[in-house]
């Protein structure tokens, strides 16, 4: 059975004056119709680059993209810029992080939504405007008809993100990519936007890739989680599995660095170090430099040999230690122990 969307061995490299920057290094990702997948990882892990590659936004640029992106049986990587246009907006919609800068400052919100509709539908300007007003109503903007004539800067942050969602969904795409859509919003508005996205998703049965670094959002919204590190998938599993038994030391670190309400006196446990330099990738495991578990393994293994993504049922992990059963037991608390700190619970 082939998936609705299947990304295999995706590489995205940017030539710069200092050399080749490898933002994505063999990324794998698959998605079924109607499924919501959370794509998590810290800044620079290649989440956004992966989604932009799916959208074909690197065509006509210096970036080198290789691998396969199979969308309903079509390889998007081999499509020309012109053929790709038929997918953008129509079959794949995208919501960006900062709606103020992602919307054109000189056109009204209604014009921008109507434009998105008119690209793929042969209708009059007037009819497209009606669709836009209708769509603004569906994303919960009050007095949609008059608000459609407002400019993005006249909207509040939450309303702008709603308008952005309306723009992405106006052609009812089968796949929605949401690139950190709630990062720029305050918490109460975040919850509303998440509700809105999941509500609209159920209405239209579209698949969603939800890019975020907020594990709380993932737990609320997603069925499956894909954890990215250094431009690779290091772990993927159903959301329950990830939270109950995270397999990769990096995933454990992510969870330990997340504030928890129950953990009143606890301190956050940041992952020491920083992501690998993408200019000159290490030969071995990309996380080895920051990994506490690597010390438990035979000398040099993690630094010399890149681990493979091993499949254990519906749980995939890319880690030598996990492969050897060293991490089989334990949850987030093991992450604390493995850093040699006692959990302050």
């Amino acid at each position: 059975m082939t998936s609705f969307l299947s990304v295999k061995d995706l590489h995205v490299e940017f030539p710069t004056d200092d050399g080749l920057v490898s933002a994505v290094n063999g990324m794998d990702l698959s998605l079924e119709r109607g499924e919501t997948v959370g794509l998590v990882g810290e800044s620079g892990s290649g989440k956004s680059v992966t989604t932009q590659a799916i959208m074909g936004l690197f065509k006509d640029s210096k970036a080198r993209v290789s691998g396969t992106i199979d969308f309903e049986g079509t390889d998007l990587i081999s499509l020309s810029e012109n053929r790709m246009r038929e997918y953008r907006g129509k079959k794949i919609g995208m919501i960006f992080q900062d709606p103020l800068s992602a919307m054109h400052p000189f056109y009204t919100v209604g014009e921008q939504i109507a434009e998105a509709y008119r690209v793929h539908n042969q209708v009059s300007k007037k009819a497209a405007k009606e669709v836009a007003v209708d769509m603004l109503g569906r994303v919960g903007i009050p007095a949609a008809r008059s608000r459609a004539d407002s400019y993005p800067h006249e909207f509040s942050g939450g309303m702008r993100q709603r308008a952005m969602i309306a723009m992405a969904l106006v052609c009812e795409p089968e796949l929605l990519i949401a690139d950190e859509p709630t990062t720029a919003l305050d918490v109460t508005v975040q919850a509303q936007i998440l509700d809105l996205i999941s509500g609209l998703q159920q209405e239209t049965n579209s698949a969603v890739i939800f890019v975020t670094h907020d594990l709380g959002v993932v737990a609320e919204l997603c069925q499956r989680v894909v954890v990215m590190y250094g431009g690779q998938c290091v772990e993927q599993a159903p959301v329950r599995t990830i939270f109950r038994e995270p397999g990769h030391p990096y995933t454990r670190g992510l969870m330990a660095s997340m504030p928890a309400l129950s953990d009143e006196t606890g301190r956050l446990k940041p992952i020491p170090g920083s992501p690998p330099a993408l200019l000159d990738l290490p030969k071995g495991c990309l996380f080895a430099e920051r990994c506490e578990v690597a010390k438990l393994l035979p000398e040099g293994l993690c630094r010399e040999e890149r681990p493979l993504l091993r499949i254990h049922g519906d749980h995939e992990v890319r880690c030598h230690a996990h492969e050897r059963g060293l991490l089989a037991v334990g949850g987030p608390s093991a992450a604390g122990n493995m850093k040699g700190e006692s959990a302050d619970v």
């Binding site: 959208m55 936004l57 907006g89 992602a102 054109h104 000189f106 434009e115 690209v119 800067h153 992405a168």
Partner: protein, 333 residues
């Protein structure tokens, strides 16, 4: 909107008064003596004194200034006591050198300056913005390098150099264009629009080479900046065609600094293209101003300075209005 315009109009008047006062003071306290310049070559101290009285330069500074300024409000009399002549409103005085009415002199010179300005502006805007946009779209490629290289050369070519080279090549060697004739100062004249174009083509080119080089640079850098904006990525993500992305989304957002520059440059050019008019001997405002300033002809210098200031101020108001039309964020309610 009306309140905004009235406020700008008030500021404009105030600014013009300040400009007039400064120009007048510079002349009055400067080293030039208009009276001896006006009285000609065979001059006795007596005749200089007579000239001084005839020109009204014997009166106190403020009286002179106020007398001059009164011409903007009503007609006034000019000349030596007993031999005065009328100067109709708006009176900008009479030339110290030729006794010609300055308002008439300006009216004669303005069509030449307008002729030069109109064609040059059209040429450099099309060439500058078009090539700048092309360079931005082909950033890093051969076309970009050629355009940017050309612009660096163009921006360092002063008008006297390009003007003389153009004259030498097209008039002196190739004989394909005429010397600039002073009998043609309008496309609606007897000679017709085509003769007008040919007559002013070389001055236009001389100005356009310099200005389009600057416009290429500004357009290119602004467009490159705009192409990297988030909303341009959104436009692509919607599935828009490249043409629509570049023109509808990119140019509208990236062109605003060029609009400002264009407004200011047009305003400046209308005050007289001094170098170009000198090189091509076109008796426009710039040409007239230079001769007036070197011969101490106060009324002519005053009038052209104030006219130039007026054009600049009007241009800045127009720029503000155009800006508001382009960018809704700066619109006033």
């Amino acid at each position: 909107m009306i309140a905004f315009l009235l406020r700008r109009l008030g500021a404009m008047l105030l600014l013009l008064i300040v400009v007039s006062f400064i120009t007048f003071s510079l002349f009055h306290f400067g080293p030039a003596d208009p009276a001896s310049a006006a009285c000609g070559q065979e001059c006795t101290p007596d005749r200089v004194e007579q000239a001084r009285i005839a020109l009204g330069l014997d009166k106190p500074f403020f009286v002179q200034y106020l007398t001059y300024m009164s011409g903007f409000i009503m007609p006034r009399m000019i000349g030596a006591p007993g031999a005065e002549s009328a100067c109709a409103w708006p009176c900008l005085g009479k030339s110290f050198q030729t006794n010609e009415n300055v308002t008439d002199m300006i009216a004669n010179a303005l069509p030449f300056t307008l002729s030069i300005a109109i064609g040059a502006v059209v040429l450099w805007t099309i060439a500058g913005v078009g090539l700048g946009l092309l360079a931005a779209m082909r950033k890093g490629k051969a076309a970009d390098r050629i355009i940017v290289g050309g612009a660096s050369v163009g921006v360092s070519l002063p008008i006297p150099v390009t003007g003389l080279v153009l004259l030498l090549v097209f008039v002196g060697i190739l004989h394909v264009l005429p010397f600039t004739s002073n009998s043609i100062n309008s496309p609606f004249g007897a000679a017709g629009p085509w003769a007008w174009v040919l007559n002013y083509l070389l001055p236009w080119l001389a100005i356009a080479i310099l200005f389009s080089a600057q416009y290429i640079r500004v357009t290119r850098s602004n467009m490159i900046e705009t192409f990297n904006e988030d909303f341009m990525r959104t436009a692509r993500a919607k599935g828009l065609a490249r043409r629509s992305i570049v023109f509808k989304h990119g140019v509208r957002a990236g062109i605003t600094p060029v609009v400002t520059m264009l407004g200011m440059d047009i305003g400046g050019l209308l005050g007289g293209a001094v170098l170009t008019e000198q090189i091509f001997s076109v008796p426009g405002l710039g040409f007239t101003a230079v001769h007036a300033a070197t011969s101490g002809d106060l009324p002519v210098t005053m009038a052209i300075t104030m006219l130039a200031a007026f054009f600049i101020i009007v241009a800045s108001v127009v720029v503000d209005l155009v800006y508001a039309a382009i960018d809704p964020r700066v619109r006033i309610n």
